[in-house]
């Protein structure tokens, strides 16, 4: 059967007009590029009327030629093509997918008498070719190798653009192309960009799977480099096309991006077994996404002062590698490391580059987020504590400051700032504070902590800030809101393990290897008066019982000394009760004094002087209800195992909080 060639197709393609599934005859094949690695084939195609020689075969279809399936005079259906426009206006057709409809033998010879299309030879009757649709979205033919290609194919039929097709080695592919006419006129990336590529988010992930760049594409980053060179030196015109951050991947070495610095960290030094060094990192954002950039050692010196948060820069020549999710909260697949050849140049043309990309969470919703989640928050700083200095576990002294932020949900949460940010913070005037990348913790219920990588902005220039300011000035300041972080008493918050006294037995608390800590609300029903006081060693920190030598001296075995005096210390044995059970507990000095309301010394005096008053102290302490924080542990004493409960802290009952807890328990039980 003879096939009809799509007349007018060549002319249309020559003019850069997309043609849907044109049927063309292959007239000749020419190999171009360096003989090394993958060759590139240039085809001359005809539609019977005209012939077009600027047709390139995508490398994944090279096998068609190598296996002699595609030979001159055969008729093919171009199922998928991309048209690239060169800087001088000429067009090149890249064949991504084709089907051979009729072999050369069947066709016989050349169909028609096609004249070559050239710049001026456009006057043959322009046949209308249905070229309304862009590159056909036909699924890749079975010939296409590799799943990566097929997945990327669909991605780019939707997203068109940067012709991907190879599973091969992109950089190698690039070189032969470079040698070809492409080189003569560096490809402009713009038409590519203009095409559907822009339509869909260029999430480079499918692309990533197979490092792809067809030659013209590769040429564009090529182009970028000469372009890039100029702003570096000339500092005038911006590179025509900056790549989008979302497209960055390790397989492309020459690119330029234009983005704003959103989050710059301080310089951090480290010292471990492998050596030491310093680093700083920053995050950048452009219309397509965000990525993190880190600079080490020498680059720190070079770039730290240059890079300023909030400013826009052109960045190029950095190493891309897979992102280490541990250290970043961004969603980009990769992260960048600056090296000696990296360049960062301030950019004046900031149009289109977004400012901070923040995803603020309303405070009321914080309860629903997981602990340790990284979130962004914005709120009005209702109040702030003073800066305090804390010594950390690693014996470092750090400043810290706690702020209370409130937002339109009416809820308040405490945010902790550390180090310099804590010291610099100015809470006067109830500023709007926005934090990006703070960690949510369940300390005291829900609270936030600024990380090394967080950014704290005071009165930022974003719409949410203005809204908050307006809301706060109108109504927010008067709100007596409920704080998610109950910092006043360290009692509240999820650290409290509320139990009933009956749970001690039913849960066999204390039987495990470690002691069990729990809190409960209970009433004191009895306190043993006898042996509540003992004579202890007067030296500081030594509470050992001293032995009365009967000669006016008291001996402490631990200090191995005799003392003429002693200090009274309390050791109470009390019985607590709640609705379900009783429990004998031991209270040491501090908790005993709280329960009885008197110091050990005073009680010691009272016992010797006024016995009635002494009794009364105990009477008054009985039948009082408190919050007890306890420790239960199984102890062996002379072959006997008993669970001993010690009171660690006694606190007054917070009725409101207790009621709320009871209400929520009831609701839970009822549902």
């Amino acid at each position: 059967m003879s096939v009809r060639l799509t007349e007018g197709a060549v002319e249309a393609l020559f003019k850069g007009v997309e043609v849907n599934n044109p049927m063309l005859q292959l007239l000749s094949i020419r190999q171009i590029g360096a003989p090394s690695a993958s060759p590139r084939f240039r085809l001359m195609m005809s539609d019977g009327q005209h012939s077009l020689s600027s047709v390139i075969l995508a490398t994944q279809l090279n096998y068609l030629i190598e296996q002699n399936l595609l030979v001159p005079n055969c008729v093919c259906l171009l199922k998928k093509i991309i048209i690239n426009t060169l800087a001088d206006g000429r067009h090149v057709v890249i064949v991504m997918d084709l089907e051979i409809l009729q072999s050369a033998e069947e066709t016989g010879g050349k169909i028609g008498n096609p004249t070559p299309c050239s710049a001026d030879g456009k006057n043959s009757s322009p046949k209308k070719v249905s070229s309304s649709t862009s590159v056909s979205a036909s699924p890749p033919s079975a010939a296409v190798p590799g799943t990566s290609y097929s997945s990327s194919n669909t991605a780019f039929s939707a997203s068109g653009g940067r012709g991907r097709g190879f599973t091969g080695k992109a950089p190698v592919n690039a070189s032969p192309m470079k040698a070809s006419p492409m080189k003569a006129s560096p490809m402009k990336a713009s038409p590519m960009k203009a095409s559907p590529m822009k339509a869909s988010p260029m999430k480079a992930s499918p692309m990533k799977a197979s490092p792809m760049k067809t030659s013209p594409m590769k040429a564009s980053p090529m182009k970028a480099s000469p372009m890039k060179a100029s702003p570096m030196k000339a500092n005038s015109a911006s590179p025509a096309k900056a790549m989008s951050i979302a497209n960055l991947n390790p397989y492309q070495s020459k690119w330029t991006i234009r983005a704003r610095v959103t989050n710059k960290s301080n310089i951090r030094t480290w010292s471990n077994s492998r050596g030491e060094g310093k680093l700083f990192s920053f995050e950048i954002v452009d219309e397509s996404g965000e990525i993190k950039i880190t600079a080490f050692n020498n680059e720190v010196d070079k770039f730290f002062s240059l890079v300023e948060q909030g400013k826009v820069y052109y960045i190029s020549k950095a190493t891309l590698k897979a992102a280490n999710k541990q250290y970043t909260t961004l969603k980009h697949e990769y992260e960048m490391t600056l090296h000696a050849n990296s360049s960062i140049v301030p950019c004046d043309d900031i149009q289109g580059v977004p400012t901070l990309n923040c995803d603020f969470v309303p405070i009321a919703e914080l309860e629903n987020r997981d602990k340790d989640a990284i979130i962004d928050l914005i709120g009005v700083c209702k109040s702030a504590e003073d800066v305090s200095r804390i010594t950390t576990k690693s014996s470092r002294e750090v400043s810290k400051r706690e702020l209370s932020l409130i937002d339109t949900t009416g809820k308040v949460v405490t945010v902790t700032l550390w180090g310099d940010e804590a010291e610099k913070f100015d809470s006067s005037g109830q500023p709007v504070v926005a934090i990006k990348g703070a960690r949510l913790s369940d300390f005291g219920g829900r609270s936030l902590s600024a990380l090394f990588s967080s950014t704290v902005m005071v009165n930022p220039d974003i719409p949410e800030a203005f809204r908050l300011r307006a809301w706060y000035d109108k109504e927010g300041y008067a709100l007596d809101s409920q704080s998610l972080t109950e910092t006043r008493s360290s009692v509240s918050g999820s650290r409290m393990n509320w139990k009933m006294l009956s749970d001690v037995k039913s849960e066999s608390m204390g039987h495990g290897e470690k002691a069990d800590y729990f809190s409960c609300i209970a009433t004191v029903v009895y306190i043993r008066k006898e042996n509540c006081l003992y004579q202890a060693c007067p030296s500081a920190d030594c509470n050992k019982k001293v032995i009365d030598q009967q000669n006016g001296l008291y001996r402490c075995e631990k200090c191995n000394r005799d003392f003429p005096n002693f200090k009274y210390r309390l050791l109470l044995s009390a019985n607590l009760a709640d609705f379900g059970d009783n429990q004998w507990v031991t209270c040491f000095q501090e908790t005993a004094e709280v329960l009885l309301g008197h110091s050990a010394e005073a009680l010691g005096q009272l016992r010797d002087t006024d016995e009635d008053a002494f009794d009364e102290v105990f009477q008054k302490a009985t039948f009082r209800t408190h919050i007890f924080k306890n420790r239960a542990k199984l102890e062996t004493y002379n072959d006997e195992c008993r669970v001993k409960v010690t009171v660690l802290e006694v606190l007054p009952v917070n009725h409101r909080e207790y009621s709320r807890r009871l209400l929520s328990n009831i609701h839970k039980l009822a549902s």
């Binding site: 009725h655 409101r656 009621s659 709320r660 209400l663 009831i666 009822a670």
Partner: protein, 122 residues
């Protein structure tokens, strides 16, 4: 007066007024507005709804803050107070009216666990 003190007086909020018409109740709410006669004032409950309280004698002094009113609910849904008591705001923990409202609702949701009627008579 003696009569009402012997009878169980369930605690209610505004939404339960209609179910307790002609019965003795105990209502805790915040004083909103005192009428010029001094014999009537409005109170709001923890949910924000309002009710009217009518007294036998006019008030002698300004009333404000949270009050506990004991009385009968009239046909119109007003509370005919036999006695009232002002909760002091200057001492102790401030009264949380919303929390109280939750408790009142709970009592009515689970009458089997809160058998006040039985306790009062027995």
């Amino acid at each position: 007066m003696a009569g009402i003190l012997d009878v169980p007086k369930p605690r209610i909020n505004c939404s339960m007024l209609s179910q307790h018409i002609n019965r003795a109740v105990c209502f805790v709410g915040r004083v909103e507005k005192v009428y010029p006669t001094g014999k009537t004032f409005s109170v709001s409950d923890g949910e924000g709804n309002n009710a009217t309280v009518e007294l036998n004698e006019p008030l002698e002094e300004e009333l404000s803050g949270i009050v506990e009113v004991i009385g009968m609910v009239s046909n119109k849904g007003a509370i005919m107070a036999t006695t009232y008591d002002v909760l002091r705001e200057d001492k102790g923990t401030p009264f949380d009216l919303e929390l109280y409202n939750e408790a009142v609702k709970l009592i009515h949701d689970f009458p089997q666990h809160y058998p006040f009627e039985v306790a009062a008579s027995g």
